[in-house]
């Protein structure tokens, strides 16, 4: 996966959650429970799943945008996870052993 694609996915995760929250809220109040729109309670505003989904997406965007920028400017070595590097090295070592045995 290219670093641009990684950065894009990281940056878009929060907005995607917010969009899902908006869709959930529109479905709830626009389709499934249209009559309840006039009877909103404070508890519904604070604990409504769609609202919390939007809030989660917003918080995620705030944290992830700097990380997306760091990823976009990182080298390929930095983007590999430490265990991936270890397993790649192990794999290379095993291949060398097989080739030496031939």
């Amino acid at each position: 996966m290219t670093r641009q694609l990684r950065a894009l996915l990281i940056g878009m995760l929060g907005p995607a959650l917010q969009a899902a929250g908006v869709a959930w809220d529109l479905l709830e109040h626009g389709v499934f429970a249209r009559s309840e729109i006039g009877q909103l309670t404070l508890q519904h505003i604070v604990t409504g799943p769609a609202h919390l989904l939007m809030a989660t997406g917003l918080a995620l965007s705030a944290i992830c945008i700097p990380i997306a920028l760091q990823v976009a400017t990182a080298s390929p070595e930095e983007l590999a996870r430490p265990d991936e590097i270890v397993s790649d090295a192990e794999l290379a070592g095993e291949l060398r052993t097989v080739e030496a045995a031939k």
Partner: protein, 200 residues
């Protein structure tokens, strides 16, 4: 130009009626735990995408155990505040706190992944039973609330399954993504529970 006074907004919010529902007036726990797990699961996906860039900050590396410990402390508060299901909430709190401790020990390099998983897998299975079949009140065939509670339990068992596959086949990127997405799903399933809790 539209201007919104913060005081007016707070006053308007204060005028809204509070809902008396199944939690005896206290705020329900499911949506906040759901949002928390969704948040942390999303960050676990970001951790996998970001590679070593994620580990540049120490707090990011300790996020997962920290989240589990915070969830455990939150569950302790829930078991104290909410009048019903105290023993179930207390059991979940203990499982979350112990899970957070072992994950923290692993991330600090004090125990191996296998040791942490040896604890995490039974905890996820037991936790799935506690939050699923044991916590689901009502008829499983007809009550949506009971079914959504069961869904949370099933997701916890799925997470245990992913961990078991990790033990069997070793760490792969696909399994890591599956676990992170599973934690996101756990959060979404808890939000679904709230949707059908009858609080609005």
């Amino acid at each position: 130009m539209l201007t919104i006074e913060v005081g007016d907004v707070l006053e308007a919010a204060g005028r809204l009626p509070m809902h008396g529902d199944t939690t005896g007036g206290a705020l329900p726990g499911h949506p906040f735990f759901g949002a928390g797990f969704l948040f942390v699961g999303s960050l676990m996906v970001v951790e996998l995408l970001a590679g070593s860039v994620w580990s540049r900050a120490y707090w990011r590396r300790m996020l997962w155990p920290g989240a589990l410990l915070t969830a455990g402390a939150g569950m302790l508060i829930v078991s104290y505040v909410q009048p019903g299901s105290k023993s179930l909430h207390l059991t979940l709190a203990m499982l979350l706190l112990l899970g957070g401790y072992t994950e923290g020990q692993y991330r600090l390099g004090k125990i191996s992944r296998a040791s942490a998983d040896a604890f995490a897998i039974p905890v996820l299975i037991v936790g799935g039973f506690v939050i699923g079949p044991m916590h689901a009140t009502g008829n499983l065939m007809s009550s949506t609330l009971a079914q959504t509670h069961l869904l949370v339990g099933v997701v916890a068992w799925m997470l245990a399954g992913v961990k078991l596959m990790r033990v069997r086949f070793g760490p792969t990127l696909a399994l890591e993504y599956s676990f992170a997405s599973g934690v996101m799903m756990l959060g979404l399933s808890l939000l679904l529970v709230q949707q059908f809790h009858g609080a609005h």
